[in-house]
Amino acid sequence: MGGPAWLTAIFAAASLAVAVYCAGRLVVARRGHRPTELDTDGAHVIMGVAMAGMLVSGLRTLPSTIWEVVFAAAAVWFGYRMLQARRGAQSSPWCSSHPLPHLVECAAMVFMFLILPAAAGAAASSVSMTMTATESRFSFLTLPLAVYLFGYVVWLGDRVTLHVPALALAAPAGDTRPAIGSGSGFVATQSYLAPRCATICKITMGITMGYMLILML
């Protein structure tokens, strides 16, 4: 992918850091029964690895075709979650309650791998990507995708609170309702796992993916 090598390396490192951190979140959430958005964290794990491979050729792991299938499947999942939310289904603390941005992120990944195969191919060189005539027909999607992600980043930034949100730690005395997440296989007994760090991960992924899309303009 185009851009100074040190800059793409920084973005790749950021996306890898998010992937590693989100993998850690999944482990901690499982062991500590602390709710986190399993689907979002899982998506960020694979997304971070894939994006790092797109940015720095030495970090490529899987062929593009496999990534396309993986992100298409993730997009289907978030699309399903979005439909469920629209139908008024009860949200689970273990799943993303705002699946649309993640659906767009997964679609953007498929877009980058599928429509612009040069994204992966050009990673081996330091030159900017060039699009074929066929691919350029889809270039008009690149800008709206990037702007949507920047909008998501800014929206998330607006919702980052200064202090640790007081989660449902202190249930009222005599409250015998089941703990949140008890119907999803896990039993949540503690507060939500590092919510501000989760938001910062989303912001990092949004900026990095937006950067990659802008490089494809």
Binding site: F150, G151, D158, I207
Partner: protein, 322 residues
């Protein structure tokens, strides 16, 4: 502005991760517009990270803005372009980071004032050193080429969206921050100056607007190039008529700020349509060329117009006693 951070309130999920809005103040119209401005700053920051910005092309582009300006304006532009030319990688990385930080700073409520204030200072500096004061003194200013300089609009927006309630009863977001009359004056001067620029020789010459449209098509995707080249072809040798029509429309928008709310709403719709048309004429800020540093004036004019949208007065709510 309701800038309070509702911290420490019980919630089942953290802010930003749930459908609930507990812990986060609601988005009012001004906050939404601030976030819109934040998005454009983030876009600017990422555009500044494009590969071509780390090459000699970037300072060369800056130096071009000195042409035609008086020596007192051109001197600092040439000096800064030379300085950037010698340290282009480091300085461009700093510039990009500053713009990204401005966007994120506007997004994060505790830093919104700081970020808006910094954005005013940054915008004015870039307006001079990066855009040559929008070509106003060089005689090249035209609404079609982005006059009075897109980056000046960032500063104006930062003032109009400042989180203060100098006139809480003002019907529009812009009026709340600065007061009704100053906000109206800003609108009149901005759109009035655009109308005046449309009548300058840079716009009214027979092939002027046509040439600008042709420039906008350079490097644009096929569909955008098609629009611009066809518009350029249609307006070729009709520069005077096109500039007069454009000036009349811009003047109508300018004076509409003093009209009653229904007429003002119609004028704001017209302003947004004009902003969109100008944006297309500008080749969408040449975003597809890899050399764009901002999305040009179109989106900013539209955002600014929305800041003047007169709110519908809410009927008084009477509390029924139980």
């Amino acid at each position: 502005m309701s800038e309070s951070l509702a911290v420490g309130r019980a919630q089942t999920r953290p802010a930003g991760q749930a459908g609930d809005t507990a812990g986060v103040a609601a988005l009012d119209a001004r906050r939404k517009l601030q976030l819109g401005l934040g998005v454009i700053w983030v876009l600017d920051g990422i555009l500044q990270f494009q590969p071509s910005m780390f090459t000699k092309s970037f300072p060369a582009m800056l130096a071009e803005s000195a042409h035609g300006n008086p020596g007192v304006v051109a001197g600092p532009i040439t000096w800064s372009a030379s300085l950037i030319d010698h340290h282009v990688v480091v300085l461009n990385a700093i510039f990009a980071t500053i713009q990204l930080a401005l966007g994120l700073g506007i997004a994060w409520r505790p830093t919104v004032r700081l970020a808006l204030a910094a954005s005013i200072a940054w915008s004015l500096a870039v307006w001079w050193l990066g855009e040559g004061l929008g070509g106003i003194l060089a005689g090249t200013a035209s609404p079609v080429n982005g006059a009075p300089g897109p980056v000046l609009l960032y500063a104006i927006l930062a003032v109009l969206l400042w989180p203060a309630d100098r006139d809480p009863g003002a019907p529009s977001v812009a009026g709340r921050a600065t007061g009704r009359r100053p906000a109206q004056a800003v609108w009149l001067v901005l759109w009035g100056s655009l109308a005046a620029f449309a009548l300058l020789p840079a716009s009214r010459a027979p092939g002027a607007i046509s040439d600008m449209l042709t420039d906008g098509a350079d490097g644009a995707p096929a569909w955008l190039a098609w629009i611009d080249t066809h518009a350029a072809s249609a307006l070729n040798h009709h520069g005077l008529a096109a500039s007069i029509v454009l000036a009349v429309l811009l003047a109508l928008v300018a004076v509409a700020v003093y009209l009653p709310a229904p007429a003002l709403r119609a004028a704001i719709v017209l302003a947004v349509v004009l902003a969109a048309a100008l944006w297309l004429a500008q080749g969408m800020g040449e975003l597809f060329t890899g050399m764009a540093t901002d999305p040009e004036s179109g989106p900013l004019l539209a955002l600014l117009a929305l800041a003047f949208w007169p709110a519908v007065p809410r009927p008084a709510v009477t509390r029924k006693e139980a």
